[in-house]
Symmetry: C2
Subunit: 335 residues, 2 copies
Amino acid sequence: MKDVAARAGVSVSTVSYVLSGDRPISGPTRSKILAAMDELQFRPNAVARALASKRSRVIALALSPHSRGLGLAELDFVRSAADAARSLDHHLVLLTEGMDSEADLAHLRGQGLVDGVVLMEVRLGDPRVDQLRRLGLAFSLIGNPGEGEAPFVDIDFDRTLGPVVDQLEGLGHRRAVFVNQGAGAHAAGYGPVVRAQRAFEDHARRVGWDFRTVFCEAHPRAGAELCRGLMEGTGRPTALVVMNDQALGGILQALAGLGLGLPEDVSVVSVLTSALEASRAVPALSSADLPSPQLARLAVENLVATLSSGPAPGTVLLPCPFNLRESTSRPKENP
Amino acid sequence: MKDVAARAGVSVSTVSYVLSGDRPISGPTRSKILAAMDELQFRPNAVARALASKRSRVIALALSPHSRGLGLAELDFVRSAADAARSLDHHLVLLTEGMDSEADLAHLRGQGLVDGVVLMEVRLGDPRVDQLRRLGLAFSLIGNPGEGEAPFVDIDFDRTLGPVVDQLEGLGHRRAVFVNQGAGAHAAGYGPVVRAQRAFEDHARRVGWDFRTVFCEAHPRAGAELCRGLMEGTGRPTALVVMNDQALGGILQALAGLGLGLPEDVSVVSVLTSALEASRAVPALSSADLPSPQLARLAVENLVATLSSGPAPGTVLLPCPFNLRESTSRPKENP
DNA sequence: CTGAAAGCGCTTACAG
DNA sequence: CTGAAAGCGCTTACAG
């Protein structure tokens, strides 16, 4: 930078100001500087900038503590967050742990390497939120902490389940079961399990369905067992709405084992899966796909906006777009 | 740090030296300093350290350019690399793009934020390797660039396919097909497709199998079609060794469609899948699981060793450990 | 519209 | 074994 200044015949501060744009610079001066910069192949040193400005332009993504089996969607989150950070002129570091104790966070903050953090899979009353606030470290949330204050991005379950129910209703289904996640997740204040269920039930009621909700542990075997139970006897459901990726394989397997064809005998819609996984299944699953890239991007934008006190997207609820694939069809006349 | 020095009654350089351990410090002095440090809750500022020492202790992980469908294994890579970095007192940033042009890399280097980069899914003659070398940016490789010089970590296909073949042989299988990836991947110099095939064939020959290898595009439909072809007529294989995650679902579906039970009628072993995906399938797949955490950790250790000129693991070839699950059994007498 | 200078919080030769 | 001081490459009041 000193070299650039010398070559352009100006002071280093002037060079710095053309870079930041924080001060009006005359046309000729600016051109001289710009010319000098690329003759010298000048690259501003981010570390020096960080030290002087106290902004590293590095943000952290705190990965899910005990990954709730987001599966490939989590990879989408990570990639998209990195992309978003990059397009906002930031870098993204990964935090795999050390978000639990206040000491770890203080350490993170003390290092000065990270300007703020994006929290994934925030739960109701998530302790991390309070800790970050106490430390004065900027943050942004994916998931609703249930406090009302901090802006967050999350799924809009009402607008997610509405289209799912409408779609099945339109095909002629009248009897459906919502396969939720385990009761444990429910108890842990994991928001989606209660909100999704409420949304499903509201919509099922709206269209006058004969429906019910069941919880299912996150395991193929649990899914298979559950599925057999659901399908025995008369009056079995013609449609399954499943928000449980880990159990899904077992459900599909059990269906096949019972000689029930997909989608001829039973329609299945998966909720909150990654689009890639849903389309990789055979037959490809009709599903309400988790918009992980969008969520990640919004969360990063929120954080960067906080840091530069720019305009933020704020709290945003996104529906999971419904994608019609091969696992849904009209029910048979008399199931 | 100034405060710590003042409180301990020493110079800042002494404080710095107790931190780095680069200089012998007397017992009493050290204790005074240590005491002062935690009374003041001192946290060394990583950015200042980086600027002064020209080592940021940040390394980058370059994600697969057009993710070859590593699936969940890629997430394992990312997590494990971050963990490894952390345990070696480094941070991991994610590079999602900008590894292609030399200008991007020069930019990365110029910023001074990143000490080195870990490259995933390195191909034979990977251009990124040369570019990094030209720029003098430290790097570490996952995958064999085929130049012999740079150390890298990769899969040992011989020791991966050996146990797979032995296992099937032990069960009594004599006729097997190796379902490789697409011919395109082969042509692109993607090492695993040629090395895995050679290893499979060597071992199949060793045990005197009646075997063949087929290529298959990375899509369930392609897998299903291929599978139907393989299974028609007499003398069909009793075992399938599949190194093609994307086609796998189609293969399993086609088997079911043909009324062939897994594993009663056909045994299937998946190679290079993530352990999580293999065990989530129904039935759970016997597989040679990609040791992504180990590979990631070794690669990070190699890089950090380069940076601190410490002892490096060097070039390491790891077998994919075979895990017996539910998709393999003895073949029927007369298939 | 531009400059001179202090300072961000460390590291590391140079001296003793 | 310890200190004084220059310097890493920028930013940003303070002055003009």
